[in-house]
């Protein structure tokens, strides 16, 4: 049962970590808390579902690309201009939640069903001692960890990666040395929303996607990111895996109805002890 709990926890954490990474990338770089990210991701999940009958690969690509573009545009025409004028956290909360409701409305208006399940191939099973895991779930976890590694590699070795690292550390100086910070913000937001979309696709194939899923994923992503140290992608990843474990074990030991009680109790406890999160944040909300 222990192994069972760990594996389920890792997979849950892995899926959860995608919107968390999305939040971490967006907030870490732009300093703007975007609460619409989950809904935009789920919007992408619905698009993927719509095209699923044509080709699975194509459907996923369309969903992810649409989310990237949405994230890019929302940042470019809405959030960056407001932040240049000195918008505060409350304003961004209201604006991004409104954007979320707009996309929830789009989902309701465009798609025939408000509750879907994405049927992705399970890719066989892998036996681990007494426990059997679907290959598909392993892919979800590997994808999450791979994304983290790729983000780190980009930061070390590419111009865009160095630019977004610089932007997150010192926005004013980044502008002064000539980094196109507006573009960096837009790309970060696009990547964040694309990651949320991948998270939503995995989520939708393990459970299901409905109108409220976007808020679940988005807020959960935020909370987990804050616990890890918001903007800190390693912290976000570790926090996601721990939270996945907490959910898995509390589910096993006490039953599903106690899951959220335990989870959020731990969240509150961690934040009382370490207000800046497990690994600390360079920004403050």
């Amino acid at each position: 049962m222990l192994l069972n709990g760990i594996i389920t926890g890792l997979i849950m954490g892995g899926i959860l970590s995608l919107p968390v990474l999305g939040v971490a990338v967006i907030y870490g770089i732009t300093g703007i808390p975007n609460f619409a990210i989950g809904v935009i991701g789920v919007f992408g999940g619905f698009i993927t579902w719509y095209f699923l009958s044509y080709s699975i690969g194509l459907a996923i690509v369309i969903g992810v690309v649409v989310c990237f573009i949405v994230g890019y545009i929302v940042q470019r025409i809405l959030l960056t201009p407001i932040s240049e004028k000195g918008g505060d956290a409350t304003l961004f909360f209201i604006i991004t939640v409104s954007v979320g409701f707009v996309f929830e409305g789009f989902i309701r208006a465009i798609f025939p069903r408000p509750n879907i399940s994405l049927e992705l191939p399970r890719l066989g099973t892998i036996n681990l001692a007494t426990f059997t895991v679907e290959g598909f779930k392993i892919i979800a976890l590997v994808f999450a960890l791979g994304t983290l590694v790729i983000i780190r590699l980009l930061e070390e070795h590419t111009e865009i990666g160095k630019s977004w690292q610089a932007t997150s550390q010192n926005l004013k100086l980044s502008k002064l040395v000539g980094i196109k910070t507006t573009q960096v913000f837009s790309i970060a937001s696009g990547i964040g929303c694309a990651l949320a979309c991948v998270g939503a696709i995995f989520w939708g194939s393990l459970y299901n996607l409905q109108l409220s899923s976007g808020w679940d994923l988005g807020f959960m992503g935020f909370i987990v990111a804050v616990v890890g140290g918001i903007g800190n992608i390693w912290g976000g990843m570790i926090s996601a895996l721990i939270m996945g474990m907490v959910m898995s074990f509390s589910g096993y030991l006490l039953g599903g109805e106690w899951q959220s009680v335990i989870l959020y109790f731990i969240v509150i406890l961690v934040l009382i002890i370490a207000p800046k999160g497990i690994l600390g944040s360079e920004r403050s909300l």
Binding site: E159, K162, S163, Q165, A166, Q169, N170, K172, L173, S174, K175, L176, V177, G178, I179, K180, T181, E282
Partner: protein, 242 residues
């Protein structure tokens, strides 16, 4: 940027900047020629930082014109001014704290041609050998003096034709100030660039080709250094005498 201008390469006229109801700069005229070091001296609150930031584009100006080469730039955003060859090194927040020295310099050469980038970074290491030795160190673990060198290094790496430096001597030991100023002179002579720096340190007299005296948001004098009476400058405009 090779062609020589008879006119000043940077010219500010009638510049007025307000913060709310407070006037920080009143109708300032200022200029800098090619290949010279220009000092802006004055007490705290005189408006030195505001003048540099207005030129670089990080504060909103109420009135006035700014010319750079043959462009009128006062409505340009920071990035466009930077691309045209202006660079401000602020007094605070002038490094990327959590990145290595090397990466700090690598992001600063971003506007230069790929072929030139390595050369620029190497030139910074030549000017400040300690930065070369510590290239892998995270910037905020450097000493105060080294961080200041890195800040100037970022400006050099940016390869701007006009470098605006806001009080580089502040917080530095006297010996380091002398060395930093000597380095600035070397940069002017090596690269034929223009350096505009605001200062409260009397040693500015040793390196500046011209000085502007600023007090309460207004220009009090504009002189070549040989025309200036050292004591007048010292008494009126320079706080720390080291």
């Amino acid at each position: 940027m090779e062609k020589k201008f008879e006119e000043p390469i940077l010219k500010v006229s009638g510049l007025t900047v307000c913060y709310g109801r407070m006037t920080a700069l009143k109708c300032i005229d200022f200029y800098a020629n090619d290949n010279e070091i220009v000092g802006i001296v004055g007490p705290n609150g005189a408006g030195k930082t505001t003048l540099l930031e207005a030129i670089a584009g990080s504060v909103h100006i109420l009135e006035g014109k700014i010319y750079f080469f043959d462009h009128q730039i006062e409505r340009w955003p920071v990035l466009k001014r930077r691309q045209s060859g202006l660079m401000l090194i602020p007094q605070e927040g002038n490094i990327f704290p959590m990145m290595s020295v090397k990466k700090n310099l690598e992001v600063s050469v971003i506007l230069s041609e790929r072929a030139e980038r390595e050369e620029l970074v190497d030139y910074v290491y030549e000017l400040f050998p300690i930065l070369g030795e510590r290239r892998r160190q995270i910037a905020n673990t450097l000493s105060g003096g080294q961080q200041k060198m890195l800040a100037v290094g970022i400006g050099i790496a940016s390869n701007a034709q006009v470098m605006l430096i806001d009080e580089p001597s502040i917080g530095l030991a006297p010996k380091l100030v002398t060395r930093l100023f000597a380095t600035l002179q070397k940069i002017r002579d090596d690269t034929k660039k223009t350096i505009v720096l605001s200062e409260q340190n009397i040693k500015i007299l040793n390196i500046a080709d011209r000085l502007f005296g600023l007090e309460a948001g207004e220009i009090r004098f504009d002189e070549k250094k040989e025309n200036l009476n050292r004591d007048v400058v010292k008494d009126l405009y320079l706080g720390s005498i080291s």
